[in-house]
């Protein structure tokens, strides 16, 4: 075990974990922030997507020791200052079915739109291809991202 500090959703946490523990499990088991989901453990499905200094990353692929002083934002922190425009778009388009993948989808979409505020459909498909939805809500996700892009501009 090693002691370290992590910044999660603008709050500092003192934690003691094995340094190789993926950030995903630090969030879920050490900090009980279960909004970030486990889907595959190999970075193939996107369910564990969080932001590190605003960049979308797969938390299952980031060992705790590699986070350093970067600021982690999880789905719980996305709407910290009022509901995020992407979350509102997800509600307006009634996107979720089972909902399990949606934290990862929303985090991926939010980071993507921050970089790419006027995406084409092809841009959206590329950016979101790493996030699996078995309920297959893909077209509503596409429409929600387009709606959020419009709302941001």
């Amino acid at each position: 075990m090693a002691h370290q500090q992590l910044s999660v959703n603008n709050k500092m946490h003192d934690i003691d974990v094995e340094p190789e523990t993926p950030l995903l499990w630090v969030l879920r088991d050490t900090l009980n922030l279960t909004g970030t989901k486990y889907g595959c453990g190999l970075g193939l499905c996107g369910a564990c997507t969080v932001h590190l200094d605003g960049q979308a990353v797969r938390a299952c692929q980031i060992p705790a020791r590699a986070v350093g002083t970067k600021k982690i934002t999880t789905i719980e922190g996305l709407g910290a200052s009022g509901i995020h425009v992407v979350q509102q778009a997800w509600i307006d388009e009634q996107v979720p079915q089972c909902g399990y993948c949606q934290s990862g989808q929303i985090m991926q979409a939010a980071a993507f739109l921050a970089q790419n505020p006027h995406p084409s459909v092809d841009d959206i498909n590329s950016a979101m291809a790493g996030n699996i939805c078995r309920c297959s809500t893909y077209q509503r996700i596409r429409r929600a991202i387009q709606r959020a892009a419009k709302a941001r501009s």
Binding site: M1, E18, T21, P22, W25, R28, D29, T30, N32, L33, T34, G35, T36, K37, Y38, G39, C40, G41, L42, L44, C45, A47, T74, I75, E76, L78, G79, I83, Q87, W90, I91, Q94, V95, P96, Q97, C98, G99, Y100, C101, Q102, S103, I106, I124, N125, S126, M128, A129, G130, N131, I132, C133, R134, C135, S136, T137, Y138, Q139, R140, I141, R142
Partner: protein, 749 residues
């Protein structure tokens, strides 16, 4: 899916109605917050509604939520009759108290139908009591009052009282029972058939929705089980020393396999293995990696996709074990026919691959057992754990969590039994979870099937003979005792293609089972997921052989209004109504612009199915590149669910079910080698992703007839529509799914 005992939806509804009449005032212990529900103030006319003095309303929905929307559609039904202000409603999962709630489980796409009667009735019951309470308070006649938007209004005087203000008075009134509580006329519906925002969406966009894997209770431990990768294999020996010294690991022990239990009706199919219990999920996974285990491959060693294929091919020409329907003499008619068309279709095992892998949390205490599980069958889990532990069911508390997808996987009994096996060795709560690899390799797969069809068409375009041999690795033998496995029962979950509207006077559909050690069970749409391919691809081939447009060919065959009963089944689903079939076929053709111009190299395909009581038609537009890769550009889906209680919910199921089905067409396949699944994760088992997902245009056209199901209905017609489109684009028939691009590479356009 057919329900466990093959109960028809009609008789299922009757049982639900009887229960609705014998209403029970809902006093029960509300576990989650340790509150005695009986102590909380409020009006509780029945087990589904609580209204508080502050006007807030809690609605309890018992059907488990796995994305198919029961929390919303059931609330719509209740709230419409209750005349409730929906902004005041909070929805919760009903507790697992089977004496009160009769639908603590779902499967077979019967959920909305099952809830349709009693959810409206309990809402109406509460409404009538609130009106009576107001009338009593004002000393006026009930008939002068009406309810609207959580308020009772006395028309002549204009006086109003909110439901919250009526709670005390209403609580003292007798609860009306019986069938004579007036229900609304459809013209007065405010929510039913219209729209209501999905009640679970806000929690599902902010990370607060709790799935089974998210359960966090004080003092809990986490566990994983190492299972033999070979189906039917056993543990031979293991060395736990390295595992035990992994940081965070608390216990390592063998868990035995569980098959049949004397007090339970089905084989639990618990594989057994070695459990590793730890302080955290990661520690448990690391501990398991450190195990040294030797496995015995068991009695079924050497099974592979190739050995299964060989048995399939043999079964295609063997004497059938069951003949589901045999009108006329198809065999002889085909022997005599000069224009016989023959075709085969082959579909492999498919995984459920729910985004939330299997898991269950169990706490075994001296006084009872508490279970938190994402499940489709909460009441059954209660009985199952009670049987295993040898305690009365009312000592087992089951919390049904949100399911992160299910598609039939959580209709199985194995993962809850495993969690109990581990938890009973520990004094603390234990969450047993499955890694993605566990989930992929120890699934209960959609059966492997092979279909051989032969048919003939006369000069007028009528099908004169149709013979469909269905061969599969059937579901029933996985779960039932040998003495129950009559040939008919073995075939019962594979049945399909035996009720088609195309009117062949010589019509034969028969079955042959193939044995396999690979576990199989219900996958979204069950046998419709493969018999749909056989039927709708074959009728397409007959159309082509006859030189006809495949839409026009089908349309002509269903031009007369007929009601066709499934052969040999008394009761059951309503007959196939060719009028409804025709209307939905026409709607899909019209909306897709069938017959109109298409881009060069593109092809259009059509399929139409009567499935789970609903009528759906798909038109797919595809293109195939020079490497043989199929791209699905657009799908039009026309749906007649009879009654669309939540039209957006119907659309969502059509969109999602169609895209879900594309995985089996384009990429997904579970292959077997050495009696083990070769795919371990999403690298090996490829599923549909955003960049391959077409937009699905859904047209919901409820005919007002009997309500059908929608959870699974969109799967059946998707694959054949795409396969027929591929033929239209390339002239090549796909005989096996997923489509092999090398067979299409270099196709002339």
């Amino acid at each position: 899916m057919a329900s466990e005992n093959n109960i028809s939806r009609r008789s299922f509804i009757a049982t639900g109605s009887a229960a609705g009449v014998a209403l029970v005032l809902g006093f029960y212990i509300h576990h989650e917050h340790g509150l005695h529900e009986a102590e909380a103030p409020g009006f509780r006319p029945n087990a589904w509604i609580r209204i508080r003095p502050d006007d807030t309303i809690t609605v309890l929905v018992e059907i488990p939520e796995m994305g198919q929307g029961p929390r919303t559609v059931d609330t719509m039904m209740l709230a419409d009759e209750l005349e409730a202000d929906v902004s005041k409603i909070h929805v919760e999962q009903a507790p697992v108290v089977p004496s009160t709630y009769k639908n603590l489980g779902t499967g077979g796409s019967g959920g909305t139908q099952d809830a349709w009667g009693y959810m409206r009735r309990v809402g109406a019951q509460a409404r009538e009591m609130l009106i009576a309470a107001a009338a009593q308070h004002w000393r006026v006649a009930k008939q002068e009052c009406r309810a609207e938007n959580s308020t009772v209004i006395h028309e002549p005087s204009g006086r109003r009282l909110s439901y919250g203000a009526l709670v005390q008075t209403a609580s003292r009134l007798p609860v009306p029972t019986g069938e004579d509580i007036p229900l609304k006329q459809p013209k007065d519906y405010r929510l039913i058939g219209k729209a209501m925002a999905r009640v679970d969406v806000p929690a599902k966009v902010n990370g607060s929705a709790a799935f089974g894997i998210d359960v966090r209770v004080p003092d809990m431990l986490f566990a994983v089980i190492a299972r033999c990768p070979h189906f039917g294999g056993k543990l031979r020996s293991f060395d736990s020393s390295a595992a035990r010294s992994t940081p965070g690991v608390r216990a390592v022990f063998e868990v035995p396999p569980i098959g049949f239990h004397p007090k339970f009706e089905v084989n639990l199919n618990v594989a057994g293995g070695v459990a590793v219990v730890a302080d955290s999920t990661w520690a448990a996974m690391q501990g398991r990696k450190a195990l040294k285990i030797t496995w015995d491959k068991g009695p079924h060693a050497g099974e592979s996709t190739e050995t299964i294929r060989q048995k399939m091919l043999a079964g295609a020409t063997a004497e059938p074990t069951v003949v589901w329907v045999n009108q006329g003499d198809a065999v002889r008619a085909l022997q005599k026919s000069k224009r016989k068309i023959e075709a085969t279709y082959e579909m492999p095992f498919q995984a459920h691959a729910t985004m939330e892998p299997m898991n269950t949390t169990v706490h075994v205490r001296r006084g009872g057992i508490e279970v938190w599980s994402p499940t489709q069958i909460g009441a059954v889990f209660q009985r199952e754990i009670a049987a295993l532990a040898g305690i009365p069911p009312d000592k087992v508390t089951v919390h049904m969590m949100y399911c992160g997808g299910s598609f039939g996987r959580r209709f199985q009994w194995d993962y809850v039994a495993e969690a109990w096996q581990v938890a009973k060795e520990m004094s603390r709560p234990v969450q047993l979870l499955w890694t993605r690899e566990d989930d992929m390799q120890h699934d209960f797969y959609r059966p492997y099937s092979y279909h051989r069809l032969a048919g003939a068409v006369d000069e007028s375009g009528n099908i004169t003979a149709w013979w469909h041999r269905c061969v599969s690795t059937p579901i029933r033998p996985v779960f039932h005792r040998p003495e129950e496995l009559t040939p008919e029962y073995v075939a019962s979950q594979e049945r399909g293609g035996d009720l088609i509207p195309y009117g062949a006077p010589n019509f034969r559909v028969d079955f042959f089972p193939v044995e396999s050690a690979v576990p199989r069970a219900w996958w979204r749409s069950v046998s419709d997921s493969f018999t749909g391919v056989a039927v709708e691809c074959f009728v397409d081939e007959l159309a082509h052989a006859d030189g006809k447009d495949p839409y026009e060919f089908r349309l002509r065959l269903v031009r007369e209004d007929r009601k066709i009963q499934r052969a040999g089944q008394a009761g059951g689903d309503p007959p196939l109504d060719t009028r409804r079939f025709r209307e939905i076929l026409k709607l899909a053709a019209e909306k897709s612009g069938w017959g109109g111009p298409l881009r060069r190299g593109w092809g259009r395909g059509i399929a139409c199915c009567y499935t789970f009581g609903s009528y759906l038609a798909h038109v797919a537009e595809v293109s195939v590149d020079k490497d043989g890769n199929v791209r699905v550009h657009r799908i039009v889906c026309a749906v007649d669910p009879g009654i669309a209680v939540n039209p957006d919910g119907v659309k969502a199921m059509a969109e999602g079910g169609t895209n879900f089905a594309l995985t089996q067409v384009l990429q997904g396949e579970i292959t077997i080698e050495d009696t083990a699944a070769e795919q371990r994760n999403f690298d090996g088992y490829q599923v549909l992703r955003m960049n391959d997902a077409p937009d699905i245009e859904v047209y919901v056209a409820p005919s007002g007839a009997e309500m059908g199901g929608m959870g699974e209905a969109a799967v059946s017609g998707t694959a054949p529509a795409v396969m027929n489109a591929v033929f239209a684009a390339t002239g090549k028939r796909m005989r096996r799914l997923p489509i092999d691009p090398t067979l299409l590479a270099g196709s002339k356009v």
